[in-house]
Amino acid sequence: MNQWEVVIGIETHAQLATVSKIFSGAATAFGGAPNTQACAVDLALPGVLPVLNRKAVDCAIRFGLSIGAEVAQKSVFARKNYFYPDLPKGYQISQFELPVVQGGAITVQVGSGDKAYEKTIRLTRAHLEEDAGKSLHEDFHGKSGIDLNRAGTPLLEIVSEPDMRSSDEAVAYARALHALVQWIGICDGNMQEGSFRCDANVSVRRPGAPFGTRREIKNLNSFRFLKEAIDFEVQWQINEIEEGRAIQQATVLFDPDSGETRMMRSKEDAHDYRYFPDPDLLPLVISDDWIARVRGELPELPGQMRQRFIDDLGLSAYDAAILTASQEMANYFESTVAVAGKANAKPCANWVMVDLAARLNKEGKVLAESPVAAAQLAGLIQRIADNTISNNIAKKVFEALWNGEGASADEIIEKQGLKQITDSGAIEALVDEVLAANAANVAEFRAGKEKAFNALVGQVMKVAKGKANPQQVNDLLRKKLAG
């Protein structure tokens, strides 16, 4: 595998969070009865004219500013011509030569733990366009049924440079983009409903060689499918080349059931879209004032928040990246720190990223469904910080909070008698008891076996039902054994 380099570029269609369509006043709500949200403009009835939705442009500007791109002062809508029944006009209104967003970049965190690294993916462009309708091919006695509710729904097509070198990098990019469009409120990110879908352009080459011929995998609507499709496609292309066959440019579909990609159309019958400026629409002019206003309305962006977590809270770059991977996670963490205090930021980060995440993962839940609220978790962390409970007991208290055994960590500690024993007299009594009962271990320790010491600590903790302060137990044992 080492002698092949994978090259991936991604095109993403993000459905913009408007209530009406990009060029008409019909509703965009998901799940309406067929054709009840398709007006004369969406149906391409004669004599109708498109009028651009201001909110869709707002969304494009927001996106451009959030990735450090150039927002074009003047951009142009073009007709992309192709013949298909769910496209009644015979063309899709899109942008071609002069897109509204040009350039920009996103920095993503790839992998986890020691193998984690950062990578900046450059964006080529993002442009506004309308979605097509939906064709249903079953159950209509040999005919296709057409639902035009989706026709004219505003999309932002976001095109990356071919900067990704593995399926993991592709998924990291797609996840970061998915989080960003939701973070800035321009897309609901609902992948099941098709609000966020990716096409992956994949090729392989010898390192340093020119780009290989690419094949485009269309319409991937989950991160798992994105990874599986790329991994299959890469292996397929390598096999083809190693067996002496050249890759032909093609569009392919991924079949999640078989885990394979299959050809949809080759270059020979690829579309000839015959783009030209749409005479029904004038150039879109965006003033500096408009851009300045949108800039003023932008929330703190993931990258900025990440830097703040590093600078103000002393978190590592890795922790800060994980905690800003989604707005829910960032909000939860910030709410936890708000109650537990900045001094406890690091334990807050650990509890959110490790313990809470693992527990959610185990139950297949997302953060929004967590039975433990941020304030409850913060209460728990405070009790660890002030030595009321040890880390081990804290895990028990967390489990109790998760199961709803009490409204707060304090209540559970009180009710279940979990308060740490810090009274040195009480601990001394326990230590004495254990020393008397474990003469063999004591002898071993005195003979130089350090392991015997750990056994004694374990015995004391056992007698104390885990509630003795571990540091005090250690200190007292050392003192007694030395004496």
Binding site: S20, G25, P34, F140, K143, G145, M264, L282, V285
Partner: protein
């Protein structure tokens, strides 16, 4: 520049317009007439002039994001050749 008969037929196919040999020849003549017109215009010196995307030098008007069109499916489908379960039925096309 001028179009060949094959190019005319390809354009007709892309637009899914059925044309006979005679129509293709006639259309070829019409289209090449337009190209001659364009060639005449190309004789004009346009150096230093920014190309326009539209004949009128004005900016796109925008509308507020509001739902102004309700459900008129019954009226629209009354003139459709065939419908079922709220869908427009068309000859089967699978890409």
């Amino acid at each position: 520049m001028s179009l060949s008969l094959e190019q005319v037929q390809r354009i007709a196919h892309l637009a899914r317009i059925e044309i006979s040999e005679t129509e293709a020849t006639t259309t070829q003549g019409h289209l090449n007439g337009i190209f001659q017109l364009i060639e005449q215009m190309q004789a004009v010196d346009t150096r230093g002039i920014e190309p326009m995307a539209h004949a009128q030098d004005v900016a796109q008007r925008l509308r507020a994001d509001a739902v102004t069109e309700g459900d008129r499916r019954a009226a629209f489908q009354a003139v459709a050749p065939e419908t079922e379960a709220g869908l427009y039925l068309v000859p089967k096309v699978i890409e």
